[in-house]
């Protein structure tokens, strides 16, 4: 279904600067969005939305580096601040004012933890961008795949929901679909973590009775959802694994808010 990759236009900041241009917004792709195969597809979909709505944007490309989030949550404050200061130098050199991220962890770190180290930018998550575009009438749900008859639930990423009180923006992207929306038992501020935060993505879990994503899957199954909407590349990994472990790959799809938007609009 995806269009040939060459169709998306993604200028880098370096290219823009060489032409003497300044984009309206920087798309901070993030490490998962850059390297994780599943997340790369979401990255391309976010670009499609940006292209479709005619937003002037650019990425840092090879000049982007980890925000330091996983290091900070795992207790390596030193490494976090080294990363942050280096990134702030790059962002400030390009006079970046506004950033959209494809990851709640990058979003939280850039938005909340960089200002104290001298990096001040307006930072939004891609679900907030999608909400703004819907509110402005620039983005609808037409011309693409119909979600009619699908039962969609939304999994709140911790660093978007509890971390930054962004609960409504991602739901807005689902509300415009002609679909059956259902909340899980644990949702919004009561949402259950996917199990990847705090550095868990990069280590084996401690001994326990079960995996956290398996626990989360019980909520998905109870809600009888056929689509689980995600808004975080780490949640995406954990939820997809959870669906696999529950042997429900035929029945349940895990899709990012951006992917759903792209599908609904046939981009």
């Amino acid at each position: 279904m995806e269009h040939p990759k060459s169709e998306i236009k993604v200028p880098t900041m370096a290219e823009m600067a060489a032409e003497g241009k300044q984009p309206d917004i920087l798309f901070w792709v993030g490490c998962a969005g850059s390297f994780d195969e599943r997340a790369q597809k979401i990255t391309r979909d976010i670009c499609k939305i940006l292209n479709h709505t005619g937003i002037s944007f650019a990425v840092l490309g090879t000049e982007e580096s980890c925000t330091g989030d996983p290091a900070k949550r795992a207790g390596n404050e030193f490494l976090f601040q080294m990363q942050a200061m280096a990134n702030i130098q790059v962002l400030d050199a390009y006079q970046i004012k506004k950033i959209v991220t494809g990851c709640p962890h990058c979003f939280n770190t850039l938005k909340n933890e960089y200002p104290g180290l001298g990096g001040n930018y307006e930072v939004i998550h891609h679900s907030e961008l999608i909400q703004q575009l819907i509110d402005d009438g620039k983005l609808k749900a037409e011309g693409g795949e119909s979600f009619k008859g699908k039962r969609i639930t939304y999994h709140d990423p911790c660093y978007l929901g509890r971390g930054n009180n962004v609960y409504e923006a991602p739901r807005k992207a689902l509300e415009i679909l002609d679909a059956d929306l259902v909340e899980m038992k644990r949702c919004k501020s009561n949402g259950l973590c996917c199990g990847a935060g705090g550095g868990q993505m990069f280590k084996e879990p401690e001994k326990g009775k079960k995996e956290i994503n398996v626990e989360r899957m019980s909520d998905v199954l109870e809600a009888k959802a056929t689509v689980v909407a995600a808004a975080c590349p780490f949640c995406m990994t954990m939820l997809s694994d959870g669906v696999k472990l529950a042997d429900k790959e035929q029945e349940i799809q895990v899709l990012d808010i951006a992917e759903i938007t792209v599908r609904a609009n046939g981009l």
Binding site: A74, G116, R162, N190, G198, K203, V214
Partner: protein
Amino acid sequence: MIPQILFIIVLAAAVYLFSKNVGKIRRNILLGKDTDRSDNPALRWKTMAKIALGQTKMVKRPLAAVLHFFIYAGFIIINLEVMEILLDGVIGTHRIFSKPLGGLYNLLIGGFEILAILVLLACVVFLARRNIARLKRFSGVEMTKWPRSDANYILITEILLMTAFLTMNAADHKLQLLNFGHYIKAGSFPISSFISPLLPDSATSLEFIERFCWWFHITGILFFLNYVPYSKHFHILLAFPNTYYSNLKPKGEFTNMASVTNEVKAMLDPSFVPENIGEPGRFGAKDVTDLTWKNLMEAYTCTECGRCTSVCPANQTGKLLSPRKIMMDTRDRITEVGNNLDKHGKDYQDSKTLLDDYISREELWACTTCNACTDACPVNINPLEIIIEMRQYIVMEESQAPASLNIMFGNVENNGAPWKYSNADRLNWKG
């Protein structure tokens, strides 16, 4: 005259002991490192009014919220009656407020009685939830013998106090109807009038019951006052300052360590002169004195309700981590440090630390930093901050992070990503 003197002695001793123990807790809290929570007083007052006074975070569990509200309202409002009792005791009067308050007095006493029975019923239900229904929230590795007994002692004491209060009123009411002695007609008794028929009719027996209950009730309160600083029940006091000093920033935002900022700046720019941020301590927390005073205040505020642990994803999936245990361990350790200070002076060091002797590394590494615990806490306690401070010690002072996390750190440092991918490939997703 003798009862008055006796009363004044008991009261003075109780107040003295209580202030001494509260002073000790205050001293212990201030053994923590400094942190600035003086900004935005308007929002802080508002937060305290909403969360401590208004109990807005309790409503997530409606039954517990309603029952807790009865006890809370009863505690605050019945204190007006305790004021009268104290004055009567000191001056040697009986129902001193009845004359100046007139008709309002009847309304107040009637109101107190209704609250008293609600408190009593709520305590009975709470006891049943803990000991008969055995709610999962009240169990767990940290809920050893003492925390379980503590909860029961509190509830039983409150039941006894309310029973004494109502029986005292019942006897008083009966004596009023007999026009006996100084028992002037004052007050209305919507609840205790149900107890009256159970009491004897002889005036001397009634007077004995009334006096016994009066003394039992007020000395019980003074005893309870002195039990509170040793108990989880101390939340009735600390909930207020603890919510006033709440973290006002988004939950996702973790503090940037100023000591690290200085080092990083010095590394990036050799000419950088660090700002004076006080004496250099260790990075992160190994023991309770490495934590901030706010962390320690939170430890003394915790009433062990277990809402944090019941929503913790690690705990729910059978891992060792329990946010409630983090708070209880912190409180027990700072109390121990304080006791050592009193016994052995300020240079004494025992061989124990919060890390390893109280909180294991396995617990700390199981946290997903999801903030479910901080969101669930009805008085804005933050176990997550303590977990992160202890991780910082393990990583930055000991270099003892789990091997897989060290690999992640290495990748971030060398390739700017937590995985082993070359930074040159960062745009490969474009195709």
